[in-house]
Symmetry: C2
Subunit: 234 residues, 2 copies
Amino acid sequence: MKLQERESYYKEALPVLLAVDCIIFGFDREQLKLLLFKRKIEPFKNEWSVIGSFMKPDESAEAAAVRVLGEYTGLEEIFMEQLGCYSQVDRDPGARVVSQAFFALIRLDEKKEQTVATHEAKWFDLEEVPGLILDHNLMIGDALEKLKRKARYRPIGFELLPKKFTLPQLQKLYEAIYQQSFDSRNFRKKILSLQVLKKLDEKDKSTSRKGAFLYTFNKRKYQSLVERGGQFLM
Amino acid sequence: MKLQERESYYKEALPVLLAVDCIIFGFDREQLKLLLFKRKIEPFKNEWSVIGSFMKPDESAEAAAVRVLGEYTGLEEIFMEQLGCYSQVDRDPGARVVSQAFFALIRLDEKKEQTVATHEAKWFDLEEVPGLILDHNLMIGDALEKLKRKARYRPIGFELLPKKFTLPQLQKLYEAIYQQSFDSRNFRKKILSLQVLKKLDEKDKSTSRKGAFLYTFNKRKYQSLVERGGQFLM
DNA sequence: TCAAAAGTGTTCAAGTTACACCCATGT
DNA sequence: ACATGGGTGTAACTTGAACACTTTTGA
């Protein structure tokens, strides 16, 4: 009898299709970029879309997101976070599909470009994002908002840079995120006062004759900063 | 042929059951409270749970959340926001159920207590939250974290107070959220400097002989504050 | 030697913290 | 008249903003 009750409880529920969509940000030393791809199959064949997939029976939304990120970028460790659930009844005319969106930050890296290319994926400047299928443009707007907010209290910007980076690079990144320029003296002061960077003895000479010192991000110090509840930046 | 492709595309997807769960916060002038209810049916009969429901075919997650909030509290306009998607494969032993969680803030109000009571729901102090079914304790932890973070840049605290409230009440609320006490002079200075409150000519004499002036929240001024990107509090 | 980007300090304004007493009122 | 909670100001300190010149080096 208990079993019957239990069964009927679940029976009243409507099964829907669940998808994950990943809004993937990258940074190419100048511009914030978004990874989009052109669909190769119907429905919406040849239209641009963010990268997604249906969830498989044996995976959580997070696992599905990790899977598609790996497929399209060749990367396994990616900073990724839930963005939100998109569940308008008529959002997908082909079926009742609910999408759990994630946003992800990756280091742009020539080595991986081939993987990206084979999937007919392409990096777009933020200003050049085309019209996308379904509610994907909406997702991107939400992701941008979240990125800006998040970057204030978490140094997620570092996820977008190579492991070794220079302060001018970091500044350019924040300028791209917030669409404004910062005073370099104040910027350096603020960043360095957080004491989460380690200065290396190497210089990156790719952008100037003088060369700029490389830094790495000290995760341990960062953790203690977060635990102290620290506001991060900007 | 196109149609066939389209059908097969959706066919590869696995339908899952979708639920919404609402983490409902209230404030009773002293303590932050959580609304929980005791399940009347199997599975998990007589165990405590946050308030939830399966999504119906013709509603979005938001609509489902509004529906259950209405059913359990009698309220129609409730501050509510997505918390996250809980999709661990084995989170519900009875079926593959993915839950979209929301957190909601409501004004505690005697008028509505009857509705709450008829659903065998009960307000719990945060420290007294019992063991809950499934991953509901996890959701509550996440909701608390989000509440704290959110209250820093949005005056969501106001959602938890009556429309007219006193500054000592507001201070108690923030003290409950952040589990620390604030200096009343500094607190008042900070709040009033935001210029989002309107002082009324009435006093609330329920807690002191002198009485405390009542204030209301000026939504228009608040909007312009948010648009200027203002940090809010704390 | 010069062009181009990296790096560096100081001053002023604003905001945050710490701190203690008087006020208004009902009983 | 007194107990109770409401309300107020100031000084020290910290943080953020504005601002311009020197350094390094490859070509």
